[in-house]
Symmetry: C2
Subunit: 221 residues, 2 copies
């Protein structure tokens, strides 16, 4: 069991269907780090992420939040970087600076290029600002996933490794798997993205990804 010297286990504030939380669950599982899940319900009663208590953890009112080593971190890319420096093996990032930068680039296509445009907060803002109701959300969601996946597929198709950057899954798989989960949830046609689909299928054979899945979470509904 991970122990930070103060007898504290790693804490992850998470929501089962939050794709950013799902990423960090994948990374913790790949690294073999034990952690306790603290569920934060994003829907019930206007959302537990809006409570004063939770805002003191994350003023941006979002999951995930990672608490370890006396440090409170938000933003999945910051968590990936910290987990990599804190636990050397197995590596999540490629070791060559060039491939490392490429891995970050492809993560960001999802992290900044897809997810922020189709997460629940954005959809609710579309509704509040412009009365775009939930019946219209799936088209918007599929648009952004498809646009990002087109660029990802072109870049990933240039590489022939079983996973995106080698023989084992790493940081990009932690972003890819939750985004494909969302694509499936909103019935995006995945046939234009065979390389992404193949990597997803390989990941879903592996326990770290199976245990990170939304349906495997204590707060799954």
């Amino acid at each position: 069991m991970y122990n930070d010297g103060f007898g504290m286990k790693v804490k992850l504030y998470s929501y089962w269907r939050s794709s950013s939380s799902y990423r960090v669950r994948c990374a913790l599982n790949l690294k073999g780090i034990e952690y306790d899940i603290f569920p934060v319900h994003l829907v019930k009663d206007g959302g537990e992420h809006r409570t004063e208590n939770f805002q003191s953890l994350n003023p941006k009112m979002e999951v995930p939040v990672l608490e370890m080593d006396g440090l409170i971190l938000t933003q999945s890319m910051a968590m990936m970087d910290f987990l990599e420096s804190r636990y050397e093996d197995p590596k999540l990032f490629p070791e060559s600076p060039t491939l490392r930068a490429k891995a970050i680039e492809l993560c960001e296509i999802i992290n900044s290029g897809i997810q922020p445009l189709q997460n629940l907060g954005t959809l609710k803002t579309l509704e509040a600002f412009y009365q775009i109701d939930r019946g219209q959300w799936p088209d918007w969601i599929r648009h952004w996933i498809s646009l990002g996946f087109k660029a990802l597929e072109v870049q990933l198709a240039k590489r022939t490794d079983p996973f995106s950057f080698g023989k084992r899954p790493g940081v990009l798989e932690c972003y890819l798997v939750p985004q494909v989960y969302n694509a499936n949830r909103y019935e995006l046609d995945m046939s234009p993205f065979p390389r992404i689909q193949k990597i997803y299928d390989r990941c879903m054979q592996l326990e770290p990804f199976q245990l990170a899945a939304p349906e495997a979470q204590p707060d799954a509904e």
Copy 2:
């Protein structure tokens, strides 16, 4: 002059008002790296970023694109990481893993939390999908900048360094300055964000930020 051994200078495909391009100009200037700007006009004739030529550089059809060491990179966070590994001094990231993770966290509040929701591509998609025309864009833009800046201000106000992480500007300033530029462009009231404003004002005294400003670019209009 930077030389990659093939006699190639660093190339930055950039648009003067693109805040992601602006970030990378700041970083290159802070590191003292010489580079050539290749302007890509995002507005004229439907956008030069949509041409086949540009898509072969970046299938996601976005600036900036950085070309160096025979490597083509998109996504500003990937560029920051690569520039840091390629040019040690001056450092853009804090050296302690904890502060480094905090710096990435705060960059991501802008990189994934603000900018994607208010960039030109998103605004045009709002117009195409829901007929939200340009007269309605400023309220939407101010909403997202304000939401992100509230969280940033809380976190930055805990630190008393002249810049966000020390006595010199680093990676977070490369994100903060272009985002404040956008806030000013859309007349966001900055009075709730005194710490952000102070860091911005300090940066704007410095040549690397002055030379990176949109109005100082060869393609400024």
